[in-house]
């Protein structure tokens, strides 16, 4: 792997995990009696940016390297399902996350100005599903990396 690909992979994983972590923080913070909307705006805004960076870096790594160098190793190894199920699912499910976090950020911006209990619950649900999908993607990443031997 070239140094550029190494840094791309590192950036993809770490920004993705950070983004999921921020969504987790958003969700937990929503559970407080009096959430700090400014804090939530910052967290959700950063999660959008981090997911976009993770998306862009994954695109570069996937298209230029994974297909020709990593996928054959997985498919020829003991755990081909790591690509056939988890990589295929992960690469498509991930596409939903930046849009969901963008919606979350927009909702928090409104909630900061206008308190609405129903909208707050809906925003919490967005955070929860984004977190769940993010956790699935992170675990899939572990399975895929572990199958590269």
């Amino acid at each position: 792997m070239t140094p550029l690909l190494v840094y791309t992979l590192i950036t993809h994983v770490m920004t993705g995990i950070l983004a999921i972590g921020l969504v987790h923080l958003v969700f937990m913070h929503f559970l407080k009696k009096a959430p700090s909307w400014k804090y939530l705006q910052a967290l959700s805004g950063w999660s959008v940016i981090l997911f976009l960076v993770s998306w862009a870096t994954s695109a570069f790594y996937y298209v230029t390297y994974y297909g020709k160098a990593v996928k054959p190793k997985i498919m020829g190894g003991a755990y081909p399902w790591a690509h056939q199920v988890f990589m295929e699912a992960k690469e498509h499910v991930f596409v939903l996350l930046p849009f969901l976090t963008l919606a979350l950020w927009l909702m928090i911006r409104l909630l900061a100005k206008e308190q609405d209990e129903k909208l707050k619950k809906a925003a919490m649900f967005v955070a929860f599903i984004t977190l769940s999908l993010g956790a699935f993607i992170a675990l899939s990443g572990i399975l895929i990396s572990g199958a590269v031997r």
Partner: protein, 172 residues
Amino acid sequence: MEWLPALVLVHIVGAVLGAGGATFAEINLVRALRDGEISPDESELMKGAYAVLRLGFFLLVLSGFAFLLYFRLMDKTEFLYSPEFWAKLTIIGALSVNAILLQTRKINILWGSAISLTSWYAALILGVLRKMDYPYFATLLVYVISVVVMFFIVRAVHKKFCPPHTTNQKTS
């Protein structure tokens, strides 16, 4: 630069902060409930312990994924399919779910404390007992039994130090 020692250090710090935070959260809770109610000062003290705990969790997860990257880039990926690694991941997952259940008051505080304490110390112990290849389900069975044992310990401590009917007290 050799990254592994730095990663190990951050991971250990995360686990220690988490286990320490969980321990002091429980100690502070018992102390706070001794008079039957949680004062604002006591609540602030517990918030501090929870903040340390959350920081520990984030350091643990971030450094954990940094480890994943390190092993992937060094072509040493067998570890990622090891039973004890997945047992540790399951326990971290249980910790995360427990935090949500505690925050939403959907779990009794004694069970929540038991799961939190057991999970953090289990993560520490599993980190120390690396490469021992314990079977996944056996590890989880020991974990579940430990949670139950911890519940009875926490309940006994609350019975001894806290007035009756405070075991369902909500924390701030």
